[in-house]
Amino acid sequence: MEAKKIRNIFTAGPVEAAFIADSIAKHSTKTSIGGHSIFLGQVRADLMDGKQVEAIEYTSHVDMALEVMATIREDIFTRYALTCMHVHHSLGVVKAGEICLFVFTSSKHRKVAIDACSECVERIKAELPVWGKEIFEGEGYQWKINQ
């Protein structure tokens, strides 16, 4: 059995729009692609008991997360005819309104790209050892709970 290739998915702070644009532009040479599906997670300024979320600070069990992501990746590539898939998740502080997750799938056909992207997002939320600490404006925090 070939060892899974471990790729970094973590980025310090928010994922910038310019980075996303660059990532999209790089695919213009791959002319077998017919559709791209992108999911972006954005930090919400939720109100909890009168306190507003100002930022989320992300931490991870990084080694393990990268191994889990490699497994998810391999599994998705086995089941979907993707041309490529890119995942970027923030670590550290991401302010409300900023992007904390960028999942990008491309395929010859749109439905494959869309379904693979959606499944990848769900699995990232459920399976990656990553934690979000919701930091309130002023002071205080609470630990994020995924739905």
Partner: protein
């Protein structure tokens, strides 16, 4: 030695993100040891991974292992 790591809200319970312990036979024994050291763990929810692999039953902990105590994930 065994490295025991705590993540997310568990670090509020333990006050540390990692601690080294001498030999311990299995995960049940390790959990007991940690609960004695950090009583707030008693009321916490967590999963255990040994060397990046999740374990769901009592498992042997070999010397040199890294054991992670992890609360429910909340990435994305």
């Amino acid at each position: 030695m065994i490295e025991v790591m705590f993540f997310g809200q568990l670090t509020d319970a333990t006050g540390v993100s990692s601690v080294m312990v001498e030999e311990v036979g299995n995960t049940d024994m390790l959990i007991q040891m940690m609960k004695q050291r950090y009583p707030a763990l008693e009321s916490s929810t967590y999963m255990i991974a040994i060397n990046n692999a999740m374990v769901t039953e009592n498992s042997i902990v070999t010397p040199g292992s890294k054991v992670a105590f992890m609360p429910p994930f909340s990435g994305g």
